[in-house]
Symmetry: C2
Subunit: 346 residues, 2 copies
DNA sequence: GAGTCACCCCAAAGCGCTTTGAATAGGTCA
DNA sequence: TGACCTATTCAAAGCGCTTTGGGGTGACTC
């Protein structure tokens, strides 16, 4: 069933049927009703390719994930983010096209998307420092929103970011206020912009308290369970071991926790544990009343929703000024942090 | 830059340029070279909508996720699955379009996709028992592959499934062989086909060993960390408590583990823990040499790759007979299961 | 009763590509 | 030299939709 057939069926022109379906005013309510009913009855939906050819709009948003990011936690975060974004797209009739590409093909992928007009805009995930995608997309004229920011890019662009620096500064300050001075920092890969900023926050908190920086208490690695385990093993094995940890995600925290168990150390009592918490849906951090981990929390899914709104807004109104949103993370006090205690024997 | 402009630039007809780019034989190698070079230089890529209109193929695969499944673990699994599928799509020039839809709209979404011709095939995720999507897709004539199976659907269709029944039967048998008779089973939602089959496997292992079934040792809930925690609390609080657990995923196992810690029970020593392990990339189950959890393991990402291959094969050759693949999970023996021990005091 | 205005509807062009069927060159052979 | 291939290239139609620029019809005004 295509438009021509439908219009013949109704004894109307294609124009009228098209207008009726697309809500144009110059068609009477009675014919509109007749048309929409017939369309529903015969399950008519306009051909996507034809529509995009005729309108120049594809009604699709591109999400490009570099494969390398895939090995990490980013994968899980990505899932929650697109779940949020999808909600918004769905409401506005947009589809989401996801491509996972080799890093080396990534820029070419954007050029390709732009040239083929297969998407009306793109979402930029996991920005690194001086991210080359941003100037490229600006030059391509393809609307985009960055989830995060990129230090070292002076161009203007739409972004929504969590105040990663402040969030980690805050949890570190919290640990310091509890008396900790040997605080292990288990960070993500620091070429990623968010990890770079978190490092800043950690260092700034130490500096504010006059605590010397010990490189042995800082790790930068993929945000996985084993990475947390390794880091904790190393930092607890020091002659002057860590008494607390700041971790980059709940998954990393699970790895740290495994180390504590192996060493028979009790969370909260013997060692304090604070995290950045992306609110991954499968891994809730306890109940709202009784959070397990002290954390700086910010919902990835909510970010996905908002980024999608910003992007659709930009597409609807291309001359709109760029939007920048900096979200503060919520500080959640859980049972995993306590005033410093002497290490248990054993 | 479109085809017309490119052809004018080269002083060739659109036909010749199109054929040169699409590898048709009736164009000389010298002009083909000239054309491809000019196309690369001007970053020409054919307009997606026009191409799909002209060929009738959209070069896209649809992945529809019902929103309800979203709250669960399924989300994380979904991410790994599509990462695998993407690899295959990318190689063949296919794109992936993802829609997350309200459950009530799901069937309509498939009708819509088929009618609009916005995808050449779809992947069916998270089949439930007697899944209505399967007969619908069959009637729509849209090629599809089911990741899993659907008990109660007698129609023919392509599927790839893990032998969930046998996998859980095996880990349960393993626990029984270690002397456990009070084995808690923390399952996913049993309207999902995979969970239904796993239940079967659990029951069959008990039956084989002549162990009575205790409903208090069986839970069916979403596959989250808190669900594991709750189940473990309940089953360890019984007058005749569980001495071992079979869990439906590593995430659930983490919740069980939390309960054990709270109760000061040591994994492996005081309580045994076995899981189904989907090999989520962010949550590796220890190292290959030293797995933490005893588990039936099967890679979701590999399944994504294979399902994508099956689907593209079906599209390329629509008259091909349906393919059914049943994968056996690998039994991994970790340090979390041991011969039954008396409960520690305390 | 002619002119004016809404209101509703239509024919046809055009989006950028693929593909059919035909035309043009350049060689070969009798 | 002209007929006949073969190897290249081309003009034009068509995919299914939107949208421009009219046109007809009745009601209403003067």
């Amino acid at each position: 069933m295509n438009l021509r057939e439908l219009s013949e069926l109704l004894n109307l022109s294609q124009t009228t049927v098209s207008r009726a379906l697309n809500g144009y005013p110059e068609v009477s309510e009675s014919t509109r009703k007749r048309v929409t009913e017939a369309a529903a009855q015969h399950n008519y939906h306009p051909n996507a390719g034809a529509q995009s050819l005729a309108t120049g709009r594809s009604m699709a948003i591109g999400h490009v994930m570099p494969m390398s990011a895939n090995h990490e936690m980013v994968n899980v975060i990505f899932a929650d983010f697109i779940a949020g974004a999808s909600e918004i797209y769905g409401r506005s009739g947009y589809r989401m096209v996801v491509s996972m590409v080799d890093d080396k093909d990534e820029l070419q992928t954007y050029r390709d998307l732009a040239q083929r007009r297969s998407v009306d805009g793109v979402m930029v995930h996991g920005p690194v420092r001086a991210d080359p995608r941003i100037p490229l997309l600006n030059s391509l004229g393809l609307p985009f929103v960055v989830h995060g920011r990129s230090t070292g890019v002076e161009a203007e662009y739409n972004w929504l970011d969590v105040n990663n620096r402040r969030a980690i500064e805050q949890v570190t300050e919290h640990l310091i206020s509890l008396g900790h001075r040997r605080i292990g920092f288990v960070n993500g890969m620091e070429h990623m912009d968010f990890a770079f900023r978190r490092r800043d926050g950690y260092l700034s908190a130490l500096k504010g308290a006059g605590i010397p920086v010990d490189p042995a208490l800082m790790q930068s690695a993929e945000m996985t369970e084993p990475a947390g385990h390794n880091a904790a093993c190393a930092m607890l094995g020091l002659s002057d071991p860590a008494t607390a940890f700041v971790s980059s995600s709940i998954v990393v925290t699970l790895g740290i926790r495994r180390t504590l168990e192996e060493m028979n150390l009790r969370i909260g009592q013997d060692i304090s544990l604070a995290s950045f918490d992306d609110e991954i849906s499968a891994l809730p951090n306890g109940s709202p009343e009784a959070p397990i981990y002290t954390a700086a929390r910010s919902s990835v899914r909510a970010a996905g929703r908002r980024c999608a709104e910003l992007l659709l807004g930009q597409i609807a109104n291309p001359t709109r000024a760029n939007v920048h949103e900096l979200w503060e993370a919520d500080l959640i006090l859980g049972s995993s942090t306590r005033a410093i205690a002497r290490r248990r024997a054993g």
